[in-house]
């Protein structure tokens, strides 16, 4: 009997262990696509790399750029070089950014947030964004002779765009990235033509190629900007927002040529963002009386929608589907949202 008990306990132990292993394995598999996005962002910020990539946006021209990124003794250095005619270069060392503009014979030196990379356009999934996007691995394929995981970050509703990512299976670097609308139409694309990872990148790689002789140097020693700017008094806000969107910035300023102050309010879900401008509307001329004033527009990947609320012109603009700017503009109201 004791033996039987021992055997039963053993079987129970094996069963429990198997159950645990299967559960953990299942959870790991289920989390895997999201983990690839995490690994990608970690690789972008922690690895040393030197790559050439094309950046296409808005259906316009393709720009070729070179990015060099190094982390050495905890210090981040980056250099972004435009390989087209302008020859612009941006060199970041920690929070110091130097912008070399040969076509303007100018060098701008300013302070930027230390974690703000020169290479952007890749989605970051966190607790805020995870609820509104579904992450899946849709294929494994070869790109530039590398084995890649094709990961999609798809919105769960019609209020935001999605991403397709080709992530290198061994380095987790993104070899190709697309921002896509609901029909899969590509809005923006980044494709690496070459990418080299190395353990050491010399200091010489972070020197500008351009000669700055005779250039004008402009320094802006103001502290790096806060990414959340809120005035004390919230005059305009939104009664209702698409799921996940929150107000993150609010500013009132008087614009040249405007009759009164213009409110600028920003809403974001952590990936997508919408700017809303509210200004006092000039008195309508007789020919405009009682006519509808709602207007929609699209410029490249940006959508815009204007309407009139309480005698104010409200314009929402963002790199989001038209439904989102329409939703937010129509929800704007005077006074803070509670």
């Amino acid at each position: 009997m004791p033996r039987t008990h021992s055997s039963e306990r053993g079987n129970a132990f094996v069963l429990s262990w198997l159950t645990l292993v299967l559960a953990v394995t299942g959870a790991a598999l289920a989390e895997e696509p999201g983990k690839w996005v995490e690994r990608m962002n970690r690789a972008l910020t922690t690895r040393n790399y030197d790559g050439t990539f094309s950046h296409w946006h808005d259906g316009g021209k393709v720009e070729m750029l070179r990015i060099i990124h190094r982390v050495q003794d905890g210090a981040v250095s980056e250099r972004l070089v435009s390989l087209d005619g302008s020859g612009r270069e941006f060199i970041r060392t920690g929070s110091n950014l130097a912008c070399y503009l040969p076509d303007k014979h100018t060098v701008l030196v300013e302070r930027r947030p230390p974690k703000e990379s020169l290479l952007s356009g890749f989605p970051t999934i966190n607790d805020q964004t995870a609820s509104f996007y579904e992450i899946r691995e849709i294929a494994r394929t070869r790109l530039n002779l590398r084995h890649t995981h094709v990961i999609t970050v798809s919105p769960k509703d019609e209020y935001r765009y999605g991403y397709r990512l080709w992530i290198d299976g061994s380095t987790a670097m993104p070899l190709k990235t697309q921002l896509c609308d609901a029909r899969g139409h590509v809005i923006e694309q980044i494709v690496f033509a070459s990418l080299t990872l190395s353990s050491h990148i010399p200091d010489a790689a972070f020197k500008p190629e351009v000669s700055t002789e005779g250039f004008r140097w402009l320094r802006n020693d103001a502290p790096p900007p806060s990414h959340s700017v809120m005035t004390d008094i919230v005059i305009w806000s939104a009664l209702k927002l698409p799921p996940g969107f929150k107000m993150t910035a609010h500013k009132a300023q008087t614009m040249p040529g405007s009759a009164g102050p213009v409110d600028h309010v920003v809403f974001t879900d952590g990936l997508a963002s919408v700017s809303v401008f509210v200004e006092a509307r000039p008195q309508p001329t007789p020919s405009h009386d009682d006519l509808p004033v709602d207007e929609s527009a699209n410029v490249g990947s940006s959508s815009a929608f204007s309407t009139v609320i309480d005698g104010h012109k409200v314009t929402a603009v963002g790199e989001v589907p038209p439904a989102t700017v329409r939703f937010i503009a129509n929800s704007v109201q005077a006074g803070p949202h509670h």
């Binding site: 701008l108 300023q253 405007s258």
Partner: protein, 82 residues
Amino acid sequence: MGPNPSRLTMLHRHDCELCDEMLSQLRILGRTLTLPPIEVVDVDSDPTLRRRHGLDVPVLLLDGTVVCRHRLDPEELRRLLR
């Protein structure tokens, strides 16, 4: 109702000398050329604007389309306003 009037947007940054210069040049240009209303927007307040244009401030946009970066290009602005 006529077409939606054009709108100029200047993306700027706090304590940016080139931004102040572009704004001054726009004011001067406005004495001889009828300009649309100008919005001056902090590029760092909107993550998308910062990502798209943060390295090129100041940027002048006409109805969302880039007119010029860093320095005012009066000829390009005149051409686009025609």
